[in-house]
Symmetry: C2
Subunit: 337 residues, 2 copies
């Protein structure tokens, strides 16, 4: 096999069953639609947990400093992300990786770029105790909450127990996060039958997105989030990192990451696990070359970007939560220790 054929073989390998199905129906363009699905509101949520979890999500007292909350890096004013290459943690530490959006994250097959958390509940405990992020301890975070009567009562109401534990904390945060969906994007309107929801350029971008193979990894309701793939298939990516191998221990999983959702991608810059690409044009160009072995023309690139911007859905709307105050028994924040 020559180099070109090897590339193609590799692309085909990665694209897998979904891409194969997609390629089989390339003649019937509209059949690509079935590889996606509109974002749906969650079918069942526990509203008590949602309201409690919302407070916890915004409460910086889950950090040692009293300054960093979940919302600091998954800012719900900014697409559930911090719009920084890598996040800022306790004492302004520079994080090792880009903060993925929390929006629609319940749809992902696992959490974190390397998928080391099975679900949102498991994820929520990570940053609280990570010395480079919120730098706290689960036991201390629970002590803080337990000391605040309004929290103690709310946990008791919902979980039926006098003593709060970290499982309840992460369970409530995860329940709130389940509500962070963004339905009714123009792409979803299109999928649901409003055929004029996309402009001619956006439709051209959608066609390119499908036929050039982006869909191989970015499919399903979240246009991603449902598989791990190697970063740098055709050409290597600089600074690819360990990726999924940190979880599986398998050398084959090096440079592999959970495919990020493209939902609201207009809002969740910068892009990639290292946040190195600041614009959609740059991200599309790099993905085309490194993953598909294809250099998109300027026009093609612009059309794909136009399509990607149709993935911005309705952002979660809710009142800023008011947090119950600490008191004399509450462990005090230690921002400079």
């Amino acid at each position: 096999m020559n180099s070109r054929k090897r590339r193609l073989a590799r692309v085909t390998l990665v694209a897998g069953a979904v891409a194969a199905a997609a390629l089989a129906v390339v003649a019937q363009e509209r059949s690509f639609d079935q590889l996606y699905a509109p974002i749906q509101p969650p079918k069942s949520v526990d509203l008590g947990k949602v309201e409690l979890g919302k407070k916890l999500f915004f409460d910086p007292r889950l950090s040692q400093s009293g300054f960093i909350s979940c919302n600091s890096c998954h800012n719900l004013s900014m697409g559930g992300s911090d719009n920084l290459s890598t996040s800022i943690g306790h004492k302004w530490q520079k994080g090792p990786i880009n903060a993925p959006t929390v929006l629609n994250s319940a749809l992902n097959l696992a959490q974190f770029w390397d998928g080391r958390a099975a679900d949102l509940k498991e994820q929520a405990g990570g940053p609280i105790a990570n010395p480079g992020e919120m730098a706290f301890q689960h036991t201390l975070a629970v002590d803080v909450l337990q000391s605040i009567p309004a929290y103690a009562r709310e946990f008791k109401l919902i979980y039926g127990k006098d003593k709060i534990d970290i499982d309840m904390v992460t369970d409530a945060i995860a329940e709130f996060e389940k509500t962070l969906v963004t339905p009714n994007s123009r792409f979803d309107q299109y999928l649901l039958g409003k055929k004029d929801a996309l402009t001619k350029d956006e439709l051209a971008g959608y066609k390119l997105f499908n036929e050039s193979g982006c869909v191989a990894c970015h499919n399903g309701p979240n246009l991603g989030g449902n598989s791990f793939q190697k970063m740098g298939i055709v050409e290597p990516y600089k600074g690819a990192g360990d990726g999924r191998a940190a979880v599986t221990g398998k050398d084959a999983d090096r440079f592999s990451y959970k495919v990020p959702t493209l939902r609201n991608v207009e809002l969740t810059y910068p892009y990639f696990h290292d946040g190195a690409a600041w614009t959609l044009a740059e991200a599309v160009d790099i993905m085309g070359r490194l993953q598909l072995g294809r250099k998109f023309t300027e026009q093609e690139n612009a059309q794909i970007v136009a399509f990607l911007k149709t993935l911005t859905g309705e952002q979660p709307v809710f009142r800023l939560p008011i947090l119950p105050p600490s008191n004399e028994k509450t462990l005090r924040p230690r921002p400079f220790d």
Copy 2:
């Protein structure tokens, strides 16, 4: 004059006209009521500016790092404060002073502890350009906003000009801040005629607050915020700082600070310009001894604290704003430069 008389003379001096009036009516206890006033909603606001200012208040792109917004230190989930002794600024710098609450701040005679800003509009420009806080430059902040079409359009709609300037930015933020009032506290209900709004202990605390002289400085609708006073009248306060002298250049103004509002004081811990007192009991004890030469008994202290907690009003209720995204023309944040 002996030492005791000197203390009393000094207290009387500081208490001034308001205290004199108060003392004159001490026999008619209820007459103290007229030294206060309920919090009123603003009589006139420009809703366009309010909505724009709300976005700006939550937008960390007004900082060099892209991580710190007005709401970082004046957190509207936490009484408009950060509940830290002194704030955390760019690169985790430790601030020199406690962040005052933004709630009801339009009622203050000036802004900042030393009153160096005449009003909210002037105040809003300070932290953006302060190297220890948001560490940005006004020109760059304006450039960021101008590059974002949705902001450019909103400024044009409201101010009628194609080019944004920093005056518009601070004007809109100030207009939003005017809405951050907290009406309908139980104390306000009491002032408005609901005589059973306060419990027996709270009323006893109110009586003590008046008759021991707290009212001399903490009066008016904001129970403070309307005069500068020396910290440490009867006894010196450790770490009193330059205070108002930094503005006036007068030696007599050393250790003087704007009297903080006691509205929502239950939420705005820790207390004093240095945030050294973490509990209301501690703050009341120190104020009694240093400002009034009076050691409150444990019961008196508890009654005053009970009264102070009746000053918690209805917190501002609004939807978390969604910020328009940056684009390829937007200056990128520089958190680690």
